[in-house]
């Protein structure tokens, strides 16, 4: 018996038909044309919540001048913060998607001791990376992702790659977000901008 191309066509057309209908009825269905997701940039209100967060965590007060208050002012601030206890300042609300940030905010987060993740390949990472950053190469070995098991899902994570032209940080950021880390930032300027600003860097392999 010869191959019936009519049958093949029937099978394929049925699959297209059923697939399309099922997808339109399925609540988990996806748009027929995948949209290029636009990055949402974090607004400045975060900076204020970060200031509060820093005080609560009692980290080194190395932030810029307007943020460093005198102790009396701090106390006053804390008093005014009391009515807002529903939204504890040391907890940033979970995001609905990873948010993009620019260098100024990235640096502020860096000063807070927030964990940075380098999405570039290990050789690029070893040649130089943001001080203290962990390497999870998006296109690299799956084992690098095991570092994530040591992180708390409530932690703020900042993902970056080489700069505004690369998309590794966006992919990795979304992947990590899907894994349940709901406070993921994508540092848009990336390594190049960090280097330009002469912010702290390091060389070599993963710290851990």
């Amino acid at each position: 018996m010869k191959i019936s191309y009519k049958n093949i066509l029937t099978i394929l057309i049925s699959a297209i038909f059923i697939g399309m209908i099922y997808n339109s009825l399925n609540p988990k269905g996806i748009p027929i044309i995948k949209e290029k997701k636009e990055l949402v940039f974090e607004n400045d209100s975060l900076i204020h919540s970060l200031e509060n967060k820093k005080e609560n965590l009692n980290l080194d007060s190395t932030l810029n001048a307007p943020i460093v208050n005198t102790t009396t002012e701090k106390k006053a601030d804390e008093k005014t913060e009391v009515p807002n206890q529903n939204n504890p300042p040391n907890k940033i609300e979970p995001f609905s998607e990873p948010k993009a940030i620019k260098i100024d905010l990235a640096y502020k987060l860096f000063k807070q001791g927030v964990k940075f993740i380098d999405a570039r390949m290990p050789d690029e990472y070893q040649a130089g990376h943001i001080k203290g950053a962990y390497n999870i190469p998006f296109d690299g070995d799956e084992r690098y992702r095991e570092i994530l098991n040591n992180f708390s899902k409530d932690e703020i994570l900042v993902v970056y790659c080489s700069g505004t032209d690369c998309d590794l940080s966006i992919y990795l950021g979304r992947e990590i977000f899907e894994k349940g880390f709901k406070r993921v930032y994508i540092f848009f300027g990336g390594w190049n901008e960090w280097l330009e600003k002469n912010y702290p860097i390091d060389r070599g392999t993963n710290a851990e």
């Binding site: 099978i11 297209i16 697939g19 399309m20 996806i30 027929i32 995948k34 290029k36 296109d139 799956e142």
Partner: protein, 148 residues
């Protein structure tokens, strides 16, 4: 009358391939967004057509798998499945050459791309080609009608 051993081998091959594709397709149908992301990971196709693949390919897999399982249009379904496997294998091979390393998106559970995946796919493709050549008449739903 063909060799009985060959007939049983073809039946087993048919059921095996059919089952694998029903299983793989059903996993993808239940989570189209993940499958769409998997296709995107290969970075081989433009963004605009990825979701169309993600919507249709799982259904081709399930339908061909079911028909193969029951022995309906074995040659045709084997041809479709082998073509799919050829494309999948090619995609995995290209990704390996490019040094990419990610979950292949083959089944519901994570399985990274690599030599093992290439081997599995090639083996299934071989079974598919054997079925295209020899067909499988044993225990199928249409053979009785044809014999009469």
């Amino acid at each position: 009358m063909r060799n009985k051993f060959l007939e049983y081998f073809l039946l087993l091959a048919r059921i095996f391939l059919g089952f694998i594709f029903i299983y793989a397709g059903a996993g993808k149908i239940s989570d189209p967004a993940s499958f769409s992301q998997s296709i995107q990971n290969y970075r081989l196709f433009p963004l605009e057509i990825i979701n169309i693949f993600a919507i249709i390919i799982p259904w081709i897999e399930v339908i061909c798998g079911l028909l193969l399982f029951f022995g309906i249009s074995v040659k045709e379904n084997s041809l479709i499945i082998s073509s799919l496997l050829f494309v999948f294998t090619l995609a995995v091979a290209i990704s390996m050459l490019r040094g990419l390393n990610f979950d292949c998106g083959c089944f519901g559970k994570p399985s990274p791309i690599g030599w093992q995946k290439l081997g599995e796919n090639s083996l299934m493709m071989l079974l598919g080609i054997i079925l295209i050549i020899y067909d499988s008449k044993l225990l199928n739903l249409t053979s009785k009608n044809e014999n009469n």
